[in-house]
Symmetry: C2
Subunit: 193 residues, 2 copies
């Protein structure tokens, strides 16, 4: 049976923050408390699930190239859960729109006619250096900063190291402060050669 | 009377987020609830003060070049409040370390021997486009992004427009996505000429 449009639920793409469960937003925590389902991945702190006592927790296990579900399957899952009339929280590590593929999930939800809302999160790209005492900006030293991911699309992994090296070289000339964002699996590819 | 070191308080530099009071972190909200003093400025949403019922609210009123207190006076105020043994929340719009002079406040507190902690906040540079439906990254289009401020140090305002134009030209060649961060007062300086 196809759900009638008036029974459709909603998907909240919520940034979980950089790991410390206290760094989720108040809005994100409130939505977790009311959620019927939480779709979460490797990057989110599992402790956050305790904030969602009513919810079915669905792990979709993304970790670098070892995806337990493809992005298409995750998109389909979000749409299916919303069509059950549920309030779905898609909990994403950091910020949904900073190297998080939140944009693709929004596109899929929009195409399927599923209402959604994005709740920003603290990105580790800013918080991790902050916790180490490093401000990403300081008016004595820089008036801009650049984030660069070490992860390209999976199908481009095989050549991304070389491309990224060229790219960093370009940035070096124009940016006085930047922050690299990648997992440990990418560090070797970027080590000086 | 000089306060004994054991009576010294603590300063929390808390990111207030981009304006929506629900976008402060849970940790930030918890600290406001326990604060003895909240030192806040123009950028923070005043509604957040209702989360700090015990606190003395101290407005330091920074807005572009119209500062009601200098940065030095703000630093001195934070130190003096902590030396009264208080739990002080320095509430800063967005993130304390993204174009927020949080680094300078940390340096002053460190030099004065005042304990402090930084609690990151959602920066408007990411959240504002997110609320407009624009992800700052999308793996089909970009693997990096750059934040550029339109505000330099006050003493350099008179020449900053020209310098920033040159700078943006450099970025244009190497960055596929960037986000400009400035107040409306700076827009004219950057308008096409």
């Amino acid at each position: 049976m196809t759900e009638a449009p008036e029974n459709i639920g909603i998907v909240y793409l919520v940034g979980a923050g950089p790991g410390d469960p206290g760094l989720i937003t108040v809005r994100g925590a409130d939505l977790l408390a009311l959620a019927d389902a939480v779709v979460y991945d490797y990057l989110s702190n599992p402790e956050l699930l305790s904030r969602a006592p009513r919810a079915e927790a669905i792990y979709v296990g993304k970790k670098a190239a070892s995806h337990s579900m493809t992005q298409q399957q995750i998109n389909d899952l979000l749409i299916a859960q919303a069509r059950l009339g549920r309030r779905v929280v898609r909990l994403k590590g950091g910020d949904p729109f900073v190297f998080g593929r939140g944009g693709e999930e929004c596109e899929a939800l929009e195409a399927a006619g599923v209402p959604f809302e994005v709740v920003p999160g603290i990105t580790a790209a800013i918080a991790a250096p902050a916790y180490a005492g490093i401000p990403v900006t300081h008016r004595e030293f820089n008036s801009s900063f650049t984030f660069i991911t070490g992860h390209e699309k999976e199908e481009e992994y095989k050549e991304s190291a070389g491309r990224a090296r060229i790219w960093i070289g370009r940035c070096w000339r124009s940016c006085r402060a930047w922050r690299f964002t990648w997992g440990s699996s990418r560090c070797r590819a970027f080590a000086p050669s």
